[in-house]
């Protein structure tokens, strides 16, 4: 009995010590995490004040160089505050509003520096500067509690949890939303882009569920004997579509078709894939045939990528006027490496069909455009987004620097104004 008592006492003492140790570790960990959050929060708050000052200072000068220096600061600081805020646990909605507001401010500064439209900046920024000041104050008031919890992370998390609305944060959130809409309203191109991705342009007659199923069987005969489950998109979805899930033997997958016109959005099958038997040539030939069969006759091959189970092949619509490829109207197909079966088709972008405004291509002398050690290997005319939701006619250049190592770049240049829109490093 005595022995048991001793063993039990030792066990209790041991467990107690272990528990104290564990608790200590947890506390240490919490303090470390809190220290990092505090660092980010302090950084965000301080830089927010600097950002407000930079915006205000940008309104001081007529001199182009002096304005540029401030615009650079606005762009850099907005990006830094954005990054700090992204690392603080403040709840998704508030974080989203901050990201959006700061991102737009930074973009505006970058755009102004690029276009030189200082008058528009001067017109807009006095109000933004005032708004930033009041945001900075509200943010300080909302976050002051953070420093009062003496290292208690759970208290802070309870405050920012969406289950327990925090009035201070809600105020910042509402203010941000209001300022965002007023200070940086959607541009015409953005609003067009929004309409495009919400398929507002689709004006075809609605098809029934039965018609949708018939279309699926017609487009993808391999699953015509499958068991189908059809559901309609939620009422709040930006565009109505049929979500058709199927199961046939080893095949499981889905097809999404728009209710208006029954256009294919996407198709994807999951099935086991055996050893590769199809050559690259055969795969590409089949991909072209599938694209045709799906009714995409106005597309041309862009690229393909082989992976463990399948090939992904990309096509893009060809502009009927100048034969340039419209990358925004892309189609992606997925083909199995064993039989070449179509495992997937994605026509979401293809059905959005871009409206292309007429543009002219001014030739570029590549010898003066690039450095001497750069060899231009391929030049293709394409249409692509210029970052401001506008489709621009561009030269897509594959350039090679053949030095100690070979480096390949894809450079996209606006064909009209010769602005470089994109540079990608290719391997």
């Amino acid at each position: 009995m005595k022995t048991w008592l001793v063993v039990l006492t030792i066990a209790v003492i041991g467990l107690g010590a272990y528990s104290i140790d564990l608790h200590g570790d947890k506390e240490d960990l919490q303090r470390t995490v809190l220290a990092q959050y505090t660092d980010k929060l302090t950084d965000a708050s301080e830089k927010l004040s600097h950002l407000q000052r930079s915006v205000s200072q940008s309104l001081l000068f007529q001199d182009e160089q002096a304005i540029h220096s401030e615009l650079d600061s606005v762009w850099r600081l907005s990006s830094e505050v954005r990054s700090s805020i992204a690392n603080i646990p403040i709840g998704q909605e508030l974080s989203n509003e901050w990201m959006n507001y700061l991102g737009r401010l930074g973009d505006e500064a970058k755009r102004t520096a690029k276009t030189g439209d200082y008058n528009a900046w001067r017109e807009k920024m006095p109000q933004v500067s005032t708004n930033l000041q009041s945001l900075s104050d509200e943010w300080s008031a909302a976050t002051v509690d953070f420093y009062k919890h003496n290292g208690k992370m759970d208290v802070w998390l309870q405050q920012v949890d969406n289950k327990n609305p925090n009035t201070n944060f809600d105020k910042v959130k509402d203010t941000l939303k209001g300022y965002g809409e007023k200070d940086f309203p959607l541009t015409l191109s953005e609003s067009d882009w929004q309409k495009k991705i919400e398929l507002k342009a689709l004006q075809d007659a609605e098809i029934t569920e039965k018609e949708a199923l018939e279309k699926v069987k017609y487009l993808f005969p391999v699953i015509k004997g499958a068991t189908f489950t059809v559901t309609k998109s939620s009422d709040t979805a930006p565009y109505p579509f049929y979500h058709i899930q199927f199961h046939q033997g080893i095949r499981l997958g889905y097809v999404d078709l728009t209710v208006k016109g029954g256009h294919l959005l996407s198709y994807l099958v999951e099935r086991p894939v055996d050893e590769a038997k199809q050559s690259q040539e055969e795969i590409l030939k089949k991909a072209k045939e599938y694209a045709k069969k799906l009714g995409m006759e106005d597309v041309a091959y862009v690229e393909s990528r082989e992976n463990h189970q399948a090939w992904h092949v990309t096509f893009a619509r060809v502009h009927p006027g100048d034969n340039a490829l419209i990358y925004a109207d892309g189609v992606q197909l997925k083909l199995a490496k064993d039989t070449g079966e179509l495992l997937g088709a994605n026509a979401m972008e293809y059905i959005q069909e871009e409206t292309i405004k007429p543009q002219t291509a001014k030739p570029i002398d590549w010898k003066t455009f690039f450095q001497d050690d750069i060899q231009v290997q391929e030049v293709k005319n394409i249409y692509t987004d210029n970052g401001q939701f506008e489709q621009r006619l561009c030269y897509e250049v594959i350039a090679l620097r053949d030095g100690k190592i070979q480096e390949t770049f894809r450079v996209v240049i606006d064909a009209e104004n010769h602005n470089v829109l994109k540079v990608e490093y290719l391997t």
Partner: protein, 280 residues
């Protein structure tokens, strides 16, 4: 006409004799070009490096670096310059180079950083354990044998140029942690949500920033993100990176049985896949 035929036969005969016959059996019989991956590409890169044409990493991916090296080889050896490794090109390369498949595969499997120049002893071309990963088994269409590179650890996967293999690995971790019990379509949709956030001004502008944004993903909070993702999760991410979006442009998803946030219920819903409701 007869003279032309005789001349042609002579030239053909001489060219066959001129090609060294030290490696007759090489490659598979398939022609490969940009986009391919697998054993044939590993062999092609190794042989081109052996001859000094290919200067990049031997990774089994037929990208631009392999393409230029092949074109330079074709130009130098009087072959049609098309960047396609067809029968004639493969035979010519095999004739002029040596390929120690066992050695090359051993380096790849060990995750070593290595080169394969013909002019340098092999043991001087290895930096042990310095590469980001090795390879397992499997084969590309360009590969005629049963062994070769695979995507088992994500290091040998081809993703669109705007993404990296690190992105693939991170998203696969998130997908596996968040949705491993969901249908394949649901896993692609979760990956697509992460990629949609990358395009949205409301979110951080890196994959890592999005995934590790505090309070954004349950799998990060409960540590399930650190589970090793399976091939299915990686395949789902590859599909999403290639454009598939079963969520139809969603930016959020939640499990209605476990969601505690009131705010998430206020988001416009799009569709439900498995246990997840996707919303914008």
């Amino acid at each position: 006409m007869r003279l032309v035929s005789i001349l042609f036969a002579l030239i053909l005969g001489i060219s066959i004799i001129a090609i060294p016959q030290n490696e007759v059996i090489a490659f598979s019989d398939q022609q490969i070009t940009r986009g391919a991956y697998g054993d044939d590409v590993i062999e092609l890169q190794a042989r081109l490096q052996y001859l000094g044409f290919y200067k990049s990493k031997i990774d089994g991916k037929f990208g631009y670096n392999t393409y230029w090296a092949l074109r330079n080889f074709q130009e130098k050896y009087g072959l049609p310059v098309d960047g396609v490794a067809g029968t004639k090109t493969k035979k010519t390369i095999a004739g002029y180079s040596d390929y120690d498949e066992k050695w090359v595969k051993a380096q790849l499997n060990a995750g070593n950083q290595f080169t394969y120049y013909g002019s340098i002893p092999l043991d001087q071309q290895v930096n042990k354990g310095t590469a980001t990963g090795g390879s397992g088994s499997g084969s590309g269409s360009g590969g005629g044998s049963s062994s070769g590179t695979s995507n088992n650890n994500g290091t040998q996967t081809q993703v669109p140029p705007k993404y990296t293999e690190r992105d693939l690995q991170l998203i696969a971790n998130a997908v596996y942690g968040e949705a491993r019990g969901e249908p394949y379509e649901g896993q692609v949709a979760v990956a697509a949500v992460i990629l949609n956030r990358l395009e949205s001004p409301d979110f951080p502008n890196t994959i890592s920033g999005i995934i590790f944004q505090p309070l954004a993903f349950t799998a990060v909070a409960d540590g399930q993100i650190w589970l090793e993702p399976n091939d299915r999760a990686k395949e789902a991410v590859i599909d999403a990176m290639n454009g598939w979006d079963p969520s139809e442009n969603a930016l959020y998803y939640f499990n209605p049985k476990t969601a505690t946030s009131k705010w998430i219920w206020s988001r416009p819903q799009i569709k439900q896949i498995g246990e997840h409701i996707f919303c914008s």
